[in-house]
Amino acid sequence: MNEYTADEMMSVAAARALGEGTSCFVGIGLPSTAANLARRTHAPNLTLIYESGCLGAKPSRLPLSIGDGELADTADAVVSVPEVFNYWLQPGRIDVGFLGAAQLDKFGNINTTVIGTDYHDPKVRLPGAGGAPEIAASCKEVFVVLRQNKRAFVDQVDFVTSFGHGSGRGDRERLGLRGAGPTLVVTDLGLLRPDPDTAELTLTELHPGIELDSVVAATGWTLKVAEDLKTTPEPTERELSLLRELKKAGE
């Protein structure tokens, strides 16, 4: 058995979710780690798109920011920021939007704006929206990756920065949003997917060695669990060594 951390399991599980040949709009941090790992493992032809204007970036190390020079130097094309959003994202040309979150609720709505319900007097002021609202609205589907705990996994987000499934299935269609919204949430404990009928996030896979009770305890709502709950396959040696190489080269 391989030794690995919960964070490594999360990065590997997130990477596996990205199919070969798809295009992915990548946020920095965990999504970027996962997308770059996917390119080195099963998806060498994954097209990475960063909001800094890099289309088809092929970095040799993990970028520290979305505008890292390494991304521009290795991209198929470097375009302006208005072009990324208006020509590439908005018309729905991108398959997967890969986002992080500070808070996520049971319908996959994302908050990266403020913690606390008073916008003008927040408990914590977060960085804000960046590209996320339009990524969440316009990509064909959205994957979210974040560590699971009660502070992050809340019944209702304090602020909807990026729209997931609103208050349930059908809200996106009613609002005229084109993409399918969040279809997968990857955490350090397992995988969650929206229920086909209600769109409520439901635990569908548990990472190896994680107790179901601890996932329930790390979730701020009464967590639904799939009837056929699966166990995520362990990271392979190759996945782990490539991830560690990537992380090391990024330091």
Partner: protein, 269 residues
């Protein structure tokens, strides 16, 4: 025609108290030195505009230069929070900071409208989010052709835009390449503009794809080698990632920050 000025002279002439000022640069080519010059000259009550206020905006805010910020993502990229920004929003230190908050797509389109001489821009964004409820400059609009509900955002037309570029010639034509972010739109949307450059050369070497801001679109050019550090200038120097990390503990505490500020402005503690 752009005039080639010294940085201090250019900032003194172009940036006034109470102005709306955009210092743009999307991770690359951030006009950091120009921001520091604004701090040194003690500008007050600025409305600062920028898609990605990062550490130079943290510094301007901490120094009390700004009373308002129009932005879409405020953080120290790859590191974490902007503590001076947070302190100003949450505790009004050193002065209260009002915010006008957008998404990247919203901001980019506001500059595009500004550069295009149009009153507003249209995008298919913000739907379902709480941003329109907090930001008066996000409004629904109906497409007159299809009836689709879209979003309108007003043009941004800053009093002055400041960007950094690789090169200019003595006539003030500017060459910029690599990640060009929203810099061209910011310059073209502004009433006045300052481009700081790594070097002023006699003649610009033609470079396919390099963005050229012609001299007649720019108010002033200032030669400021290293003027984007700790961000980077493709072809000149790389991003100083360690400096971004080193900012975190300085920005975190008012006292540490004040020491940094005194060093910058030459005030003896």
């Amino acid at each position: 025609m752009a005039r080639v000025l010294a940085l201090g002279e250019a900032v003194a002439e172009l940036v006034h108290d109470g102005d709306t000022v955009a210092l743009e640069g999307f991770t690359h080519l951030i006009p950091v030195e120009a921001g520091h010059e604004i701090i040194r000259q003690g500008r007050r009550e600025l409305t600062l505009v920028r898609m990605t206020p990062d550490i130079v905006y943290d510094q301007l805010i901490g120094a009390g230069c700004a009373s308002r910020l129009i932005f879409s993502w405020g953080g120290n990229p790859g590191v974490g929070s902007l503590h001076r920004f947070r302190d100003a929003v949450q505790h009004a230190w050193p002065v209260p900071l009002e915010i006008e908050e957008h998404s990247h797509a919203g901001m980019a389109n506001r500059y595009v409208a500004g550069a295009s001489g149009l009153p507003f821009a249209v995008l298919r964004g913000y739907t379902g989010t709480d941003l329109p409820g907090q930001t008066a400059t996000i409004k629904p609009i109906t497409c007159p052709f299809t009836g689709e509900q879209l979003t309108a955002v007003p043009a941004l037309n800053p009093d002055v835009a400041i960007v950094h570029a690789q090169r200019a010639d003595r006539a003030g034509n500017v060459q910029m390449w690599g990640l060009v972010g929203v810099q061209k739109e910011a310059v073209l949307s502004a009433k006045r503009s300052l481009v700081t450059v790594e070097e002023v050369v006699d003649e610009l070497e033609p470079r396919p794809g390099a963005i050229v801001l012609p001299t007649w679109a720019v108010t002033a050019v200032a030669e400021v080698p290293g003027g984007a550090k700790p961000s980077y200038a493709a072809g000149y120097y790389e991003r100083d990632n360690a400096a971004y990390q080193a900012w975190d503990p300085i920005g975190r505490e008012r006292e540490e920050f004040t020491r940094w500020l005194n060093d910058l402005t030459g005030v003896k503690a």
